[in-house]
Symmetry: C2
Subunit: 355 residues, 2 copies
């Protein structure tokens, strides 16, 4: 039997913590084969009673008490200064200390990113971390990054994202040679701004041994045209949230159609025997909850702040997949190639301009 | 009886022209109360036989022959030089000549934009045109702009888009005081790049007498949080196409659910008595086909190049609504206010940097 993977959990992060966190951990544990252990960081007096309801979970959990938390609306710079000893800080530090394989938090995104950078440091060859999201497509998932860590990106960063995203997709979604696309607009005249065009040139000419397919458009994401979709954090964040909003709108229309008349309700009742359940599950944003921070010396997973138990369970599953994968090895190999390329290529000198 | 509104149509633009264009015009005409006339620009030998099948349409149509067309993949700069006398050029020129109230084309977007700028010129106070899309929301439609004309935007341009979009929404969607939001990302740390932050300051302090609501996020678009959504053409184009892709993906899941088993099929058969038809109509991208060019001395509507007849009919309906509205008067009033503001505000000087 393999030794247990250890997940380090910020039990106080998120709008409904610690209840949603413990509930999520219990969901996550059900039917799991692979042995796991969880370290829950937070207020023992609040966590202990919640844990008492879940015997199986309590057996694999260890509580590390702290009464300090990072507030959901703290500014990252401020959070970092005050964060030492908080549940979020301790959750990330457990990776650095070699106690855990991966850290998970539903707390303040900016603070989590800042704390992770301070504690874990960037991997050599990566300038800024990216957040990767797994996005449902007809054949499974594609990987979209960055979805919010970097609002302005130089071309070299987009190349880093391509390298990080390709490693991530191979490790987590088990595609041996993931295809990579660069998100752009379609008009022939414009074909994107200079940053995207420069990144395209770099990716084509870099000799990264990557299945780079060139420009793709917004509709290609959900179509699954490429396994990895590279974009800056502003566009990626807007795209991700636009897709969530669209799925919710269409979901409302579907619900309306299914309850629009007695006959429709009868139809829906027949349907709901299974097909509708699957449909509902597919459209549930909880099932794609969990953005992974890439580029750090360690794996940190961010759950939506407003998540409930089942949503947090998804973030834990993603964290476990990451911990159980060869992601960190993958990425080191890819980064070595990238560093060689970066050394060879002239800098665009636009880093500051875009910062 | 009011005098007929005149629509000037590029009958040769689009992947399936002129068949889809004539077919779309026939669809458009059915059940219309308001008297209209259409001028069809293009190859008479090809258009005449198509028109012969539609007696009512033929009565209100006039064919203006030309055997020149603008190809779908021509570069805009090149297209402008060679476009004189083409069906697209003539369709736009009919507005300038006072023969028509609005022009419609399903041809090359970049070429149509370039030709429109050359023939109609920008309205005083507007630096670059924007493309506005009507986007379905629970309560009807919101207006999103720019969705592709300008990939890089200075803060002043985003303010122009707000003014153009507000006028458009009031004129076409008949909301007396449309609310306006600026698309951004949510992370507290980042809150967008400098351009978006500067635009936000300008909109707050400009005294435009506009119901400006500040930053919104991607999920707010389909939720209908504000009537008008302002963004640069890169982000707007990606968001629009991402939403189309997501609707298509979810549509596929719905279809799958409805045909997953004999029982599901029976349920779907009961449902389809009406509710499913409405659902299908709502999810049909044809029903939102038609981007409107704003900021020109005249109204030009762009249909998807790949549209079929019903889709082109939607673009014609949008064009008719624009022609029948007070949009051009609205916009002149708003632009006068904007000019006063621009004269008072210091230039950010970043126009070139972002161009």
């Amino acid at each position: 039997m393999p030794s247990p993977l250890v997940l380090s959990v910020d039990a106080m992060g998120g709008d409904h913590a610690p209840e949603s966190i413990v509930d999520g951990a219990a969901h996550f544990l059900k039917g799991r084969q692979r042995p796991v252990r969880l370290i829950l960081h937070g207020d023992e007096a609040r966590i202990r009673p919640l844990l008492a309801r879940h015997t199986a979970l309590a057996e694999v959990c260890e509580i590390r008490h702290t009464d300090q938390t990072v507030s959901m609306d703290a500014k990252p710079s401020e959070a970092v200064r005050r964060a030492r000893g908080s549940s979020m800080w301790n959750a990330v530090h457990a990776i650095k200390d070699g106690e855990a394989h991966v850290a998970i938090s539903a707390g303040n995104t900016g603070a989590l990113m800042a704390i992770s950078k301070v504690i874990l440091r960037m991997k050599s060859g990566v300038h800024r971390p990216a957040i990767a999201a797994s996005w449902p497509v007809p054949q499974g998932f594609c990987t979209v990054l960055d979805v919010g860590a970097n609002v302005d990106c130089a071309p070299e960063q987009l190349v880093e994202f391509a390298v990080l995203g390709e490693s991530f997709h191979r490790a987590v979604h088990r595609v041996s040679r993931p295809s990579v696309g660069l998100l752009n607009v379609g008009q022939e005249e414009l074909k994107g701004d200079q940053v995207v065009r420069d990144a395209d040139t770099l990716l084509r000419e870099a000799g990264l041994d990557m299945d780079y397919r060139g420009f793709i458009e917004g509709n290609d994401i959900s179509a699954g045209t490429t396994d990895v979709v590279v974009t800056d954090g502003f566009t990626g964040n807007v795209a991700l949230k636009t897709a969530e909003g669209t799925a919710r709108l269409v979901g409302g229309w579907v619900r309306e159609a299914l309850t629009s008349s007695p006959l429709a309700k009868l139809g829906a009742a027949l349907l709901s025997m299974g097909a509708l359940k699957q449909l509902r599950a597919r459209m549930d944003p909880n099932n794609v909850n969990g953005g992974v921070f890439l580029g750090l010396n360690g794996v940190v997973v961010k759950s939506h702040g407003g998540t409930d138990g089942p949503g947090f369970a998804t973030a834990l599953r993603i964290a476990l997949e990451m911990a159980d994968s060869h992601f960190l090895t993958e990425i080191e190999q890819n980064l070595a190639r990238l560093e060689a390329v970066q050394a060879a290529a002239p800098q665009s000198g636009s880093e500051e301009e875009h910062a």
